[in-house]
């Protein structure tokens, strides 16, 4: 069966520090991968998505970047965090437009 792992669950980082959030998928090949951010009490904002290794599409200009070094690994990074980067980050995968998404359990990031 397919599973998705996302870590860490919570993270408190100082302003200006780097960030690396990792997401891995098991049990499927060549999934589409997604990073979303959710502000408190709000909907989800699509940040990045990838349809293959090394292919990254950015949806929102910001202080973050994403990489897909392996087929089932998706990494969200920042060189210098801002207070506005705080939020709940969710990774997800799907097999394409006609399929639902499977989400990870999320990372709650607080930048202080």
């Amino acid at each position: 069966s397919q599973t998705i792992h996302q870590w860490p669950a919570t993270l408190v980082q100082p302003v200006g520090s780097p960030l690396s959030l990792e997401c891995t998928v098991e049990g499927t090949s060549n999934p589409n991968l997604y990073w979303y951010r959710q502000a408190a009490g709000r909907g989800l904002q699509l940040l990045f998505y990838s349809v293959g290794i090394g292919q990254i599409s950015s949806e929102v200009p910001q202080n973050l970047s994403a990489s897909r070094p392996q087929d089932r690994q998706f990494i969200l990074s920042s060189k210098k965090l801002l207070l506005s980067d705080s939020g709940f980050y969710l990774c997800a995968w799907s097999l394409g437009i006609n399929y639902g998404y499977t989400f990870g359990s999320g990372t709650r990031l607080t930048v202080v």
Partner: protein
């Protein structure tokens, strides 16, 4: 940008009652999906309805889609306390990405 808008923003009902949530969107779609999110957790996929479908059922869930009005509804029948969560609609156009609405917070009281 967010494609879908859910209505109401919050809904409180008693166990056993039905809960109806609505979603409106702005552009043509390939499909519309509904998700549930328990507090502080990831989202769980509930149901997908394609643009050429009008109604779909899954257990106690019933989803309708009216593409002429660009709207969808999610009905949860005989609600339970465990149904307490936020519910989101999401639309897929002709690309492999979902755009989510703002969500409806459902509270079911025992």
């Amino acid at each position: 940008s967010q494609q879908g808008e859910e209505d109401p923003q919050a809904l409180s009902i008693q166990e056993g009652e039905n809960a109806t949530m609505n979603c409106s969107y702005k552009t043509s779609i390939n499909n519309l999906q509904w998700y549930r999110q328990n507090s502080g957790r990831g989202l769980v996929h509930l149901i997908l309805i394609r643009s050429n479908e009008r109604e779909k059922h899954s257990g106690r869930l019933r989803v309708t889609l009216d593409t002429s009005k660009k709207s969808s509804s999610l009905l949860i029948t005989a609600s339970r306390a465990a149904d307490t969560a936020s519910y989101f609609c999401a639309t897929a156009r002709n690309t492999d990405k979902l755009i989510f609405g703002t969500g409806t917070r459902l509270q079911v009281f025992p």
